[in-house]
């Protein structure tokens, strides 16, 4: 017998994942019981539920909750005629802390804690499916040497998903955008975005599917919109989202439990965080093939977010390719693995083996044995912005403020071509032993019949020094001259940036005459460059340094 204590006071995520774990346990012959506070959920939610439900009285403190649970556990043992009938107690919820766990443990029960916030536990087994890169397996270590080491089931192998996510069925994705905020969520802000998208001609033939959770608020306007726009379809509290994920071109919504469901169904996604446990390191998300994530919707105007959704739709093949580039596989078998361990004591063999680095196959130019250069790919989308926004870079630029991620994503898909050609912006990254040192870009432009090269570079690391800058400028000038030998190089250099001024001077750049055509061209290419802050410089073709 396995008893689950699940917190239903902050959304449905905990209850849903424990339902799937209970199902996996019951498939292996275990009787399951859930101890729940009143949820306000419709009774049909619990139809065919893989466990018997026992309702707690309302308003208990954490200590009272633990005492009540102990009494229930004793009663279940007594009813089974066996003092040790309850094999495991599984607890999932932020409302149950060390005090609760200690009470249950001291009564002699074997305890499993489910977590995703790396809290302290007294449990025998800790399950946390969150992927945190190389930190993943180092979490939940005992605080002191004498402390008993819990069994730690960590990482995407133990993501608890509904059974339908374990079948890797290929589907044809229709022209459908899916919006969801999980079990709860406030729809006010996203409704404004959806309203804008409904009136956009580019999405005329698309279905906008909105999945409304049972605890959702501010949905009245969505209801009204759905009456006016037949392409807006509302789905209320469906039993499973799997089919919707698999049939949608793009998911837009909160990143919570959806992270692993999206990864398992390889659904392209634009997400944002609504809660603390949805804050993720971008690189960790990228390992799962998820690249387009906003930390918050606050302060992003509806029109800007709608624009970003449209850009994603217009570049959907690139967004799909990003989804496929993840290093980790989520196979949806986490619940079965955990159940198998609980019932047999056998630890599963890790399967979420990292694929080779995405960039390993990219063509690299070795400038020295340790320094290599490769074309920037869409998988660099977040790292590129992180580098661009470093304070030691942005002060030298014509736009000195930090670029918000949603603006960057729009810019990236419009400016940063998937196929690099000289007419488009070409970007490269200089790496040292695989770690990004600096980004360099260039673009061929035309002004009054004359071709010009414009470009620049910015550091991605504190390790960048003058020799890297010198190396990359030399390479860039040679590379661009081979592509378009007759173009004039022009640039703007911040007047305080003496180093780059000298670097470019050594490479043959000279100050442009204020009235010259080249100076006009430079101003045209860099409209935000102010002559009082920047030097306008140029280098003519075939001019040696």
């Amino acid at each position: 017998m396995i008893v689950f204590r699940v917190d239903t006071r902050c959304g449905l995520g905990h209850l849903m994942r424990m339902k799937w774990l209970a199902l996996a346990c019951s498939e292996q012959g275990q009787q399951c019981h859930f101890l729940l506070e009143q949820t306000g959920l419709a009774a049909d939610f619990f139809q065919n539920f893989p466990a018997q439900i026992h309702w707690l009285p309302a308003g208990l403190t954490e200590t009272e909750d633990a005492v009540w649970c102990l009494e229930k556990l004793s009663a279940l043992n007594a009813a089974a005629g066996n003092e040790t009938a309850v094999q495991w107690v599984i607890v999932d919820g932020y409302g149950f802390g060390l005090c609760w766990e200690t009470t249950i443990k001291q009564a002699g029960y074997a305890l499993v804690a489910i977590d995703d916030l790396e809290r302290s536990h007294q449990a025998d087994v800790i399950v946390d499916a969150k992927w945190q890169g190389c930190r993943t397996l180092q979490r939940y270590m005992p605080a002191s040497e004498g402390q008993t080491q819990p069994v730690r089931l960590l990482g995407p192998d133990f993501a608890i998903l509904a059974p339908e996510y374990s079948s890797g069925k290929d589907v044809v994705r229709s022209r459908q955008l899916m919006f969801a905020l999980g079990g709860g969520g406030d729809w006010q802000q996203l409704t404004a975005v959806i309203a804008l998208l409904l009136t956009d001609a580019a999405l005329e033939s698309w279905t906008l599917l909105v999945v409304i959770g049972p605890y959702a608020v501010n949905t009245a306007e969505l209801e009204q919109l759905s009456l006016r726009y037949p392409q807006l379809q509302l789905v209320r509290a469906p039993a499973s989202l799997s089919a919707y994920y698999r049939s949608s071109q793009l998911f837009v919504g909160a990143l919570g439990t959806s992270l692993y469901e999206l990864a398992a169904t390889k659904t392209p996604a634009l997400t944002f965080a609504l809660a603390d446990n949805q804050q993720n390191q971008l690189q960790d998300l990228a390992d799962l093939g998820h690249f387009l994530h906003l930390d918050s919707l606050i302060a992003i105007p509806a029109a800007a977010l709608a624009q970003l959704v449209l850009v994603c739709v217009q570049n959907i093949e690139r967004v799909k390719a990003l989804r496929q580039s993840g290093k980790l596989e989520v196979d949806g078998l986490g619940a079965r693995r955990i159940a198998h361990f609980l019932l047999t004591g056998q630890l599963p063999v890790p399967v979420s083996v990292e694929r080779a680095e995405n960039t390993a196959t990219a063509e690299k130019i070795f400038l020295t044995p340790a320094l290599s250069l490769r074309a920037v790919a869409d998988t660099d989308i977040n790292a590129y912005l992180t580098a661009r926004n470093r304070p030691d870079n942005s002060w030298r630029m014509t736009i000195t403020h930090s670029i918000p991620r949603h603006e960057h994503y729009c810019w990236w898909f419009s400016q940063q071509g998937s196929q690099q050609s000289s007419q488009q912006r070409q970007s490269f990254v200089l790496e040292q032993n695989g770690q990004a040192l600096l980004y360099v870009w260039q673009q061929l432009r035309s002004f009054q019949g004359q071709n010009y090269w414009i470009g620049g570079w910015f550091a991605a690391s504190d390790q960048v020094n003058f020799s890297h800058a010198q190396l990359i400028l030399d390479w860039q000038l040679q590379f661009s001259a081979k592509q378009q030998p007759d173009a004039i190089w022009v640039a703007v250099i911040h007047q305080e940036n003496k180093f780059v001024q000298l670097l470019n001077q050594r490479a043959g750049f000279v100050r442009l005459e204020p009235d010259s055509l080249q100076c006009q061209a430079t101003q045209h290419f860099f409209p935000q460059a102010d002559h009082t802050l920047f030097h306008f410089v140029g280098k003519w073709p075939h001019q040696e340094s």
Binding site: T368, N465, F466, S467, H468, L473, F499, L502, R506
Partner: protein
């Protein structure tokens, strides 16, 4: 003429003008690790060396960490002369 002695004297003077007195065993002095010159000053040194000795110093020369000690740096410059 580019000789080891001429380069040594040039470098001693360059560092001295920036408040850095080179140690007696200057050959093993790692001027990058010591952090006595910033990027601009190192580049100024390269440009000055190129102008004074009519050298063209490749950008890869100082990406090789071995050339950060003055003795190796002078040897590398002599090979360019």
């Amino acid at each position: 003429m580019t000789t080891a002695q001429a380069l040594q004297e040039f470098l001693q003077q360059f560092f001295l003008e920036r408040g850095v007195v080179l140690p007696e065993h200057w050959q093993s002095f790692n001027f990058i690790a010591a952090g006595v010159l910033d990027s601009f000053e190192i580049l100024s040194m390269i440009v000055s060396l190129e102008t004074h000795f009519a050298l063209t110093i490749p950008s890869t020369l100082l990406t090789n960490a071995d050339n950060a000690s003055l003795g190796a740096f002078v040897d590398a410059l002599l090979e360019l002369a």
